[in-house]
Symmetry: D4
Subunit: 226 residues, 8 copies
């Protein structure tokens, strides 16, 4: 019995990339999915593909994949960037430990030809680091922030920019912040209006939301100028 | 001692409206804030202003307020809509009980001259109701969904549209869904990528996020065509 | 001291199979139980029997077992299906990761001579996949759905069929959905009336409930036509 | 704007009754819904209709309603029982405090012409009370048990009957059992296989599940004998 | 039977004031305690003494009390400030709704002859408000911050001052921040090292901790210069 | 620095045995403690001493220890039973998986010269197993029950005996019962009055409580007959 | 339909008193139960009978009841104490707010002819209060401690006495201690071995456990001296 | 891209040490940070540096580090103590298992030239151990207590000293105390006023708070005597 079932028109219908969450799949299942994708000429993004699993993929298939170990993502048949320069996203991280998820965001955007820059380790414990970069951050149409622990950066940032902020709570820390729950609730309960939140460590989801915002932009522009 | 402190340039800095959360303030505090706003010629939005509190406001001040009891919001010095027609938002509710929050969304957008339509009571238990309206929903650049109980509509909707979906979990129901926690976690854990979530019953926040998306649109358009 | 104590007339009294939950038992305990079952000519179903434990069972005993590694179940003395064709169950999964539990359901039913079909990977993020199969699903007297993450499929399915739906929440995902709690609460709080829920990952329990429904059918038929 | 939207073919599609959850609706909304139902000649069941709300309904409309204050339910246009005698359900309660929900179950079944008997106050603290009635309970094709506190009766009952058991956890008690959570988790974690669970206090849902089981019976019988 | 039992040497032993938590005591019990205090010439602080309870106290006793309704505290036999000017505390609040607890802090300090200033409504959503006052805040030896919602101000403040910060989480807000839990966990999980936390709404405890810090100062000064 | 500090008169003062919880101690620390005990001629009980740690203890010391791997306990200088026959305890387990903790209870009692019998695997899913033994159980002055999952046996037992029942919740199971929380809350919320509860898996504590009950007996007997 | 069902031989079977938990029963139900008890000449204990409900009971019936408003208990047909003097219990409370539950303990014991003394307001914040009384406490065969907040008294007491300690967590306090959960977990996690715990505010249950301990004493004494 | 960003003036601004939390960083990242610190002549403290990671650091760099395996901390370029003798801190632990965190406190203080003494294993189960040392403890200006399980020592200590107490809840134990949550809530809900709490296992944070208290002392002394 075939145990997966492509959502074949997802990209057309929802505008988000074809992606495979590998964390709960066996190497064999992952290889079958890549094989089928190659056969059907689909580009796909693989997320949460641990290094140990990647290493067990046959080398002929490995060669087709652009793998990034920090974000644990692979791209089948990476393409050059389209001319999309105005659609830019900045990813802001509170600490070094948030980089793995920040990279997952960047890779998902890259897969969809949207360039992303990362400004890292600007947590509010040393507020000047964030204030030094705030003008630069404010030049981007969309800001995605990654933070664990108490996630205070979400509120501070949201109070300083006038474009959407997507908060990605990160599961780093210990004690009460252990699993990212405090950062998540901090984003949801923010005193700064309009913070948008995704699941803990869900870099892929944050990137998809940014892509959908650019879809909205295209739709609006089409309505007005088309 | 004056017990509040205007964030005087909030609208300029972040693009979201001046608003006063009235639920934890006394009538006296609310009246002082309105008075000061009138003096300083500020337009403000009052949220979670219960009918009983509104009724205790002196009538001269009441007359300046446009009050809506279903959403428990008041607008000081309501203005006519600007010519903003292309910036539209649709608010989708799963059930009748979600209307109070849906109206809070609509009133906040209205305060910012963004027209909003409500499509109500299209929960997935009777899926045809949603499918009948999905084409219409897909014509809006931004969709805000309000749902309590298990919040299944968030995932179904997100899989059918290609623009941003903001999920507002609602605190209706009983047993495990009592306080909106299940709907909230449902939105965060959605199998459909890119769902954006705000706090339970936070209609105001969802509207602010939509406003920030339109700010992004204006910024981008400025960049490209300005 | 003998550390177990057969519930010797369970099948007669409750109609559900003799089964041994192996996850918290040592290999030695498991072997003793199988030995005793062979001696007493009992058929038994072993659940949550990890591959590593199975591999340590003496080969003479292994040969008596029909082992399935995906579901981690073993059947002692598998028998041919009885003529039970009208008693059918369909198992619907939201994603590929739900297959292990879906197979546990199927194996438990098979042990009781009830045929089960699996329709996999039809989660609501790509709703058309479910709608394409809904007519087929509706031909079965009992539907068992397995889903993790937000479990939205439980409500959608329950609104589309008129026979019992048993929801099995699955412990896949990360962040708020990590341990299956969100899918569980989603099933319990469903806006579609009549969803029946079992414990997280409890494929065995869901199958037993289906068996009891068919017992009810036999009892009723006996009453009416016997 | 009309704030509700009939799921007009629910009964045909899913076999469960048209029902209105009144707890989060205003009297005005409830009256409008009843009015519309009368106009459209629909029979409806109103649940969680508190006595104070019922008393505010205009008397002409009240007269059309069969109201039960213990279960807080009302039936619009009650009909005589159809000849459905073989489709019987027994409702077992652990204590006197579970009666309100037990009656909600009975009223929902009654609305659908399924007779229900209640055996009350047979909790396991005085086990003989349950054992005295177990033969009688075993004559019913479906058993629904209502219990708060620790819900031990669910496991004891499930081990003594061979037909489906639907557990309805009840929000009575104090301390750790305060909101019905312990009874709920007790049902889900039962050591007796096949217990089916619904949301806390969800008598309506338990009845709907029983109705769907009888739908299954009719479908099967149709298949075999039709 | 006498139902209370003075901890008669608490002030000497621990340096914190004699206080009576009134929330779970009857008016009769409170009156008896005040009577006894008057008889024994004790000064006491009454906390969480709701206005309705205060109003039921006989007027002869009322006259001995200095009551503050915003903080719900009363002081029996208020005394003039000792010459303690160098022992100052600043109380910073994120919003207007935090004032009740801020006043409980101030009143407890006042009872112990430590002057306290309140800087209110400087939450980080409008960061400039806090930055404008940070130099002033930094002139105080001890800072106590009161904040509800996500409590981001705790981390921002702690990163800007070099003296102790005591965080008092406040139970304002709704949804995930409803009971002060998010603000509490935010303070505990702060990325800024050295934040000290007390129970939700525990203004009295925060003040006692500040008093103990000044006790430490006196002890040290005694050691060095005595 | 010596990192432990004997509570040297614990047995005299509280009547419970000198014991060392080994789970969070290094092998080196454990060996030092045993050494010291030998030097000071103390008998001690070691609990949660995993087999891997035991195997690293020098053999000369090992020989002094009576080790039981199922309960992970060791007794230094085991002694013969005193003439204590009337002080008996029965340990009842719901399933085979509860044996490790049941043995910890028995070993702790044995260390204190109180004989204990174990009646295992008599969970309520097959109620006859318990009813068959209830007369025998009722001959013991103290009953300790060990159960995981939903812990229904606590209530059933407590309703059938007139002497104290100590409930030990066990951390077996999966899903909602995963960590023993459901069994714990079930014991606390029991509908049968007088169930006494200890921490999850705390066999040692349950045994100490039984020892204290026998201390009470000795004290009372002394008072009356001494 | 009669909605209650006497557990008619409870006292004989389990040794605990016939009692009626009134909190979730209507006045009418309570009156019916008392009536029936009078008819059948049963003595009963009514717990959680609020003053407002008691006041609605017909005066002829009221006169038969010995009512205590602080503990909200009533005794039907109070009898003189039997000659039971050696069976004594001491109830220790941490604060004045724990008195209501302490009285529920005392009244339940009194109903069963066991005298109880209360030592109140000896919480560990002023440790000398407890140490002053510890010799006296140690003369009782059974100690029941009532405490809310952090429940530290449970561990301190258990380390100072050699007879059983029953901990009753109390639902007083605010913030994290609000519902008695912290005191409950403190009792369960106590570093002093052998603390026995009952549900939050469950004074009745604690008394029943003490009664069962005295049953054990009688059984043992019978065995030895009978 | 450089993935860290020194908060270069942290010590000057906030008075707490430059520290690197190593638990979520790779060996490579840690080495780069140490390298950079050496280049820039910064002293740094490394916390949660597991032995396995330390062993992978190149030996030339290792030689610069003063490593302590019990506390998992390393100090780059340890210096001799300044003449700071009057600034002393005492660390009190409830049990042997709390030593790792106690050492993290001591090492952080040592890095900042503040001497710390540890008084270990004086938990309240054997209260005399604490009472024997209380006079000595009371000679220190600041007390830091480390305790897991139920954390009763926090309240007992706070009631016996008149200087600040910082509570560090420890993640030892099992069952309800498993992750340090009970000890944390016990500290927050303490009946003894003024207990200050930090995150579970956060020895570093407790030490930073003590440092900030001494900063306060210096500031005050400067004000008065400077």
């Amino acid at each position: 019995m075939q145990q997966y079932n492509w959502d074949i028109n997802r990209a057309d219908r929802t505008g988000v990339p074809e992606a495979v969450l590998c964390s709960s799949k066996s190497v064999q299942q992952i290889v079958e999915i890549i094989d089928l994708s190659i056969t059907e000429s689909r580009r796909i993004l693989l997320t949460r593909l641990a290094k140990e699993k990647f290493d067990q993929i046959p080398s002929l298939i490995q060669q087709r994949l652009d793998y990034c170990s920090q974000s644990a993502t692979a791209i089948l048949d990476k393409v050059e960037f389209l001319d999309n320069e105005h659609k830019r996203v900045v990813i802001v991280t509170a600490g070094t430990s948030d980089m793995a998820v920040a990279k997952e965001v960047a890779r998902t955007l890259e897969f969809s030809s949207i360039p992303a820059d990362i400004i890292c380790d600007v947590g509010v414990a040393g507020l000047w680091r964030l204030l030094d970069r705030i003008h630069e951050i404010n030049t981007y149409p969309i800001v995605i922030a990654c933070a664990g622990m108490e996630g205070a950066i979400f509120s501070v940032l949201a109070g300083l920019i006038n474009t959407p902020l997507i908060a990605v709570p990160i599961s780093v820390g210990y004690g009460v912040s252990n699993k990212g729950k405090t950062a998540l609730e901090s984003a949801l309960a923010s005193c700064a209006p309009g913070v948008l939140t995704v699941n803990i460590d869900n870099g892929f989801g944050a990137a998809c939301a940014a892509i959908k915002m650019y879809n909205m932009f295209d739709k609006l522009r089409g309505n007005q100028y088309g």
